[in-house]
Symmetry: C2
Subunit: 507 residues, 2 copies
């Protein structure tokens, strides 16, 4: 079929350009000499413009229209029908936004990131305020582009849909309400009961951390033929194709936990991309179906695997072998407690697994208020501090520990934060399904045999790429909609099991 | 002027895409996991197709035509006129070649490189022969695309013009005839007189070689804000922009000369790209005007600077400081002799500075015969061995030391080899001009002050980019056409000076 072949050709080019974009980004954050930044921005812009042209091309629209009757006849689970759906969606989302507005959004974000850095330097929110106001103003114009389509019930839905297609503000509000109501007392009780020492206390030479993380990653499934690992200030993962996966981490003498847990986290992201069905290569299906699913994979490896007791059983001998000393003095129970400590803190990226979601709830609450116009940018710092007190019981002594700690809003990413918690929710739901299918998963993990786990994830999640929406994927795998109970039960259960909570808190 | 602005916009996009292509290539040869090769090939193809579209775009042709009367009125030395000329040339060269033929050429080259590797593995030329025949057949079709234009007097001119615009086969044949006639006796006399020990004999730990090359490169002008240095099997240099320059080298315990001289060589390439006029950034002018000029810069730093006596004076204390032992036992004269030894050998990339050009002469002779149809691919191995005996006086014991040693022909690069010797010729001509302008250049080098040398190269060569053709640039700088005498005089003079030749050989 000629039209389908042409659709595949176009999808192939778009996929190739996405792969190239991945390399530009990876290189910028790992290898590029600092002085190359301005030229890199030009290269990104050139690539983005070409991608936008390709996705909004009237020829693509005609092709999609011509294939509509054929697509309606197909099994919706077929690759071809899914490809048609995915390109239809991308075209629709892009074509509603004038190119000039897209360019303005991108340039305002670049400007606001610069302003954010200057405001941090000066510890002065006012230096960031006008740039953020401009970002929000442009986001409002972006939202307005979809006014006539009737597909979004709430302005925030338009933004959320870019990161987590199909999820609504109404659903998300209900999820966060439930989660928050239960998490606040849980966190407070666990923080009161918990010990207070740094996780993996001690200083460990970077070269030893490197050989440790190398062995750790190879054991869980890192394949040097197709993967690599480098250092980056903010660890991330990126793939250029399912055969070319790049992880990053941060090695610091006094922060072993960063190296170990960011490697596991980024490995989870990488495995999702590596295990996409090769048949989807060079199609729009070889991508994550949403950031929530992506994050569920990183959190699953970092937390549900990496902070589990069986994993601690496997990890302790490894730590002893590479780092010796301090790890000879502790047992598995102590390691298990160490890596699951709950501590109230002000910085999201340093938060423990349980508290983390309260940081996200705070950001969702505030960005929703901004988008709805209930909150102005000028009022944001006070609102941040008030919410921090309400959710975490903490005072915010500085802007760096408060409203200026994250780059997201300045980068124009509004609607992005919730995907971190969506990932946490999903990871617990998926784990329940996985544990039911693999009754001996804990024994396997304790024995360092991660293959059955990888295979289960490949079969149920990874290989599908964008073929199903997040919602469909979760439903197919767990039979459920997104919900908070599995995460809450998992968190409380583990804290009790590790002896970090004296008694159940939840009713 | 609206049209000129539009021309600049188009040139900017093409330059950005070239920068992206540079990154794809650099990454492929330094960082990419081996399993990523197939996806990288797809990404290259996607980028090449877009670049070809942009350069052959009828809209560009119309724009160039519309600007023709304006361009005719401009100072030909102005940036705007030069940009118009360069884009006119690129468009003309690309538009004469049907896209399908360009795609076939690129795919045949990919196939032939694979066949070349298999033939090397099996030491069997027949495995390479059909693929190389296909490459040559397609090159003939490529040449035929310019039949009607009347601009090329010889079929080989079409190929040469892609690497060294404007140079003709007739000129090149005369240059090689002269060079060869004088080099054969010179090489033979120097090889007979010379010592026979490996250059920089000894084993040196890689980490010490790294700190040495780091200090060496910073001294000559490597700027960590805009440059980086990595390992690669075949050292090369590539820039993504004048602000983002990547060098590579090879560190091996038993080959210190490789690290030192490939760093200097690639630095020469990098400096050319780094010192282009920033005003040419994002235009087609911010590129090398030809591969000969590019190579003249690498050879100048590697040989005319790096193997000079004053450089040895500066280098020896550095070698002693980093590597100690063996370098305490020699003096500057010995180092100077060591790095200038002439030894007859079969492998081009291992050849010394003097012999090197005979390896190039051999390849030029054979590829010209192939293009003219005087030689068939089947006859190539015997012809190679015969020429090796005639030029170097050596027997060729294996295909790996003979016709299968270089990847160029398999990669479709016919007309490329001569640029190595053109670079050598130019480097000697430029040095004569430079030494006249900077009478104390030797003292400066001995003192480790390379700034005046860099500035002279910036002023006379680097900043211009593609503004002038190689021929014009050489003429402006030296008042001369390309010629062999300065290189021959320099080579013989140095061999005599270093005591590596007992008496003058040339009449």
């Amino acid at each position: 079929m000629k039209e389908l072949e042409e659709l595949r050709r176009r999808a192939g080019e778009i996929a190739d350009l996405h792969g190239i974009g991945g390399l530009l980004l990876w290189d910028q954050n790992t290898m590029m000499p600092p002085g190359g930044a301005a030229a890199r921005a030009d290269q990104f812009e050139a690539l983005e413009r070409i991608l936008h042209d390709r996705i909004t091309d009237p020829g693509l629209a005609k092709l999609l229209d011509a294939l509509e009757p054929w697509a309606a006849d197909q099994d919706p689970d077929s690759d071809a029908a899914a490809l048609h759906r995915a390109l239809r969606r991308d075209h629709h989302k892009a074509v509603n936004v004038p190119t000039d507005l897209a360019a303005e959004i991108s340039s305002a974000a670049a400007h606001a990131q610069q302003a954010w850095m200057e405001a941090r330097e000066a510890q002065d929110f006012k230096r960031f305020q006008p740039a953020l106001e401009r970002v929000l103003d442009l986001q409002a114009r972006y939202i307005a582009c979809f006014d006539g389509t009737g597909e979004f019930a709430h302005p925030y839905d338009v933004l959320l849909d870019d990161y987590e297609p199909g999820l609504t503000t109404a659903e998300l509000t209900a999820l966060f309400d439930n989660l928050q109501a239960e998490l606040v007392p849980l966190v407070s009780a666990a923080a009161a009961a918990g010990e207070d020492g740094p996780v993996f206390a001690g200083r460990f030479p970077v070269d030893k951390q490197k050989t440790l993380t190398d062995e750790l990653l190879r054991a869980v499934g890192y394949d040097p033929e197709h993967w690599r690992l480098d250092a980056a200030v903010h660890p991330f993962a990126r793939s250029m194709a399912h055969t070319d996966v790049r992880l990053t981490t941060r090695w610091e003498e006094d922060d072993l936990a960063m190296a170990v847990y960011s490697c596991l986290h980024e490995f989870g992201h990488g495995l999702y991309e590596a295990q996409m069905d090769p048949a989807h290569y060079r199609t729009t299906l070889a991508e994550a179906t949403g950031l929530g699913v992506h994050e569920s994979q990183s959190r699953l490896w970092e937390n549900l695997v990496g902070r589990s007791k069986p994993f601690c059983e496997w990890l302790l001998p490894l730590l002893r072998r590479h780092l010796g000393g301090p790890f000879e003095a502790i047992d598995v129970d102590q390691l298990y407690r160490d890596v699951n400590q709950v501590r109230l803190s002000l910085i999201r990226i340093e938060a423990d697994e349980t508290t983390y979601n309260l940081h996200v709830a705070l950001r969702f609450e505030l960005e929703l208020a901004l988008v709805e116009g209930r909150l102005s940018v000028a009022e944001l710092p006070d609102a941040w501090n008030e919410a921090t007190h309400r959710l975490l019981g903490l005072e915010t002594p500085s802007l760096l520990e408060g409203v200026l700690q994250d780059i997201h809003w300045g980068a124009g990413m509004i609607g992005y934060f919730p995907t971190y918690t969506i990932g946490n929710l999903m990871s617990a739901q998926l784990w329940t399904a996985l544990a039911a299918d693999l009754p001996d998963v804990e024994e396997r993990i304790a024995a360092g045999d991660f293959a059955p786990l990888r295979e289960w994830l490949r079969e149920h999640i990874h290989r599908h790429g964008r073929k199903y929406t997040s919602r469909e994927l979760l439903k197919r795998t767990t039979g459920e909609e997104l919900r908070v109970e599995p995460l809450l039960a998992y968190l409380e259960g583990k804290l009790l099991d590790a002896g970090l909570l004296n008694a159940p808190v939840r009713s």
